[in-house]
């Protein structure tokens, strides 16, 4: 029996997660803009601007969406309201958003003041978030695998953020061991992003895409398997000074297993209604498999890891695709949930729109096409980082981010219109 992860009574106001979901595509768009004006950033993962670009995506997009979604879940998990939910959500949002902008500026320019602002702001933000999440997760009576995966992902985020802050400190002129970058990357990509997507998938793929449940063996093996591989990688890298490659093998196998199972489950959908989120998830799994194969190919032939191509496949192909697919369920569902609640509480005259009316399928489908096109261009630019190719790819990426932002914004605006004008709300639906 599944755990109740959503509740009317404990749901915070929509204004709590909304800024996170609106700002995330803006940060992705900013990353695209940065690449457009400096296409040389695709020459190496180590360029200061490339590090800035990466963090606009990882912190500005992934962290904000994750934190926004957590705002919704915290009171439900804890079985209690978050104290001063609206103020704490806004404070956390400002800390992470401002810290991300400062970090991107500091990494790109080497400005120590920006880096110090970023360290302070992100340090406070992630410490506050980790405290809130730990409070909610420890109070939760549920032992649902998704909850365990979330707990592990939050722990990995704390490790990632801790290493990241130390590395940022290193950029101010202090000395920090270089191999910490690989630890930071491994804990962030595998322990935080991949594990969180996997844990959430166990719940949302069967629920929203009407697939069978994930196999128990996969669900049970994921958290201990990935945690063991990360700890081993950390121990070996810490001891030897050079990043050890072989702990990547069990990680690659687990990620491939997850991707293949997800694709197989989607083939076994009960009803094959058109659903753009299925396309987003298929693309995410395809990109994850491609990333695993690129990594394994390089490892098998003893070649250098093509870091930029892997980054594009993992972050844009896997991460952004899966998170976009989730956003196209989360945001319409929350809008529907809150309007339904409002109508019940106040007896307002408007008709509650369906999820397909909140974000019309055709608009989401256009954004999916733009995202797919942008991903292909980005892969092309990673393989051939010429100025023209990189500029075209970054333009495609910006178009996709803008369409995603517009779709999410219009959904939240529809809620605002109906909430303010309940008597005339029915006319606003579908506009």
């Amino acid at each position: 029996v599944t755990q109740t992860l959503l509740s009317f009574e404990q749901s915070p106001p929509l204004s709590v997660p909304a800024p996170y979901f609106v700002a995330a595509p803006l940060f992705a768009g900013a990353a695209g803009l940065m690449l457009f004006f400096d296409p040389s950033l695709f020459q190496s993962r180590w360029l200061p601007g490339t590090l800035a670009l990466t963090h606009l995506i990882t912190l500005g997009f992934f962290a904000l969406v994750m934190l926004g979604a957590f705002q919704q879940l915290l009171p439900v998990l804890a079985g209690a309201e978050v104290p001063r939910a609206r103020a704490s959500a806004w404070g956390l949002f400002c800390a992470i958003a401002a810290g991300t902008a400062a970090l991107a500026h500091g990494l790109a320019t080497g400005n120590p003041t920006s880096l110090l602002v970023a360290i302070g702001s992100l340090g406070i933000g992630f410490a506050a978030f980790a405290t809130l999440a730990a409070w909610a997760l420890f109070r939760s009576p549920s032992r649902h695998p998704t909850i365990r995966a979330m707990g592990a992902a939050v722990a990995a985020l704390v490790v990632t953020a801790g290493l990241g802050l130390a590395l940022a400190w290193g950029h101010t002129g202090a000395g920090v061991p270089r191999q910490w970058t690989d630890l930071h990357l491994a804990w962030g990509a595998v322990g935080w992003i991949a594990l969180l997507v996997m844990g959430v998938a166990w719940q949302v793929v069967p629920m929203f895409q009407l697939t069978p449940d994930y196999p128990r063996a996969l669900v049970r093996a994921t958290v201990p398997g990935l945690a063991a591989a990360l700890l081993l990688f950390s121990a070996l890298t810490g001891a030897e000074g050079e990043p050890a490659r072989w702990p990547g093998l069990p990680v690659a196998l687990m990620l491939a297993w997850f991707a293949l199972v997800t694709l197989a489950l989607q083939q076994a959908r009960r009803r094959r209604l058109p659903d753009v989120t299925v396309h987003f998830w298929r693309l995410a799994m395809g990109a994850l498999l491609a990333a695993v194969m690129v990594w394994a190919g390089a490892a098998a032939f003893g070649a250098a890891t093509p870091a930029l191509l892997l980054g594009v496949l993992f972050l844009t192909g896997f991460g952004i695709s899966a998170v976009s697919g989730m956003l196209y369920k989360i945001v319409p569902f929350l809008v529907w949930l809150h309007l339904n609640n409002l109508k019940f509480a106040t007896g307002a005259a408007f008709t509650v729109p369906t999820m397909k009316q909140v974000i019309p399928e055709v608009r989401a489908r256009w954004q999916f096409r733009a995202h797919l096109f942008a991903l292909c261009l980005m892969v092309g630019a990673a393989l051939d980082p010429s100025e023209i190719m990189t500029r075209i790819a970054s333009a495609g990426f910006m178009v996709s981010a803008a369409l995603l932002g517009f779709n999410l914004w219009s959904a939240l605006a529809l809620y605002g219109r109906l909430r303010r004008q309940p008597a005339a709300g029915a006319e606003a639906i579908g506009t």
Partner: protein, 89 residues
Amino acid sequence: VSERTLDVSELEPPEPLVLTIEAAEALAEGDWLRMLHRRDPCLLPENLRRRGFDFFLRAGSRTAVEVFIWRAGDETARLAAQAAMERRP
């Protein structure tokens, strides 16, 4: 006294919730609703209670979960639903 049956096992959230609430609201006195679903309905219990309905929930035979719903205070419907629930599938 009559039983209404609603199979929402192949619908995507939140349709199972919306259709079940609509079907429950349409129940006449003495009638009860048997709702069939593929999974535990997350939001349904809270919504039913708020709208003045009582219910039982159990593992089903045709689908993973069956929910038996009637208006709170409608003894005839409650007894009929309970009798149906006690007849193992």
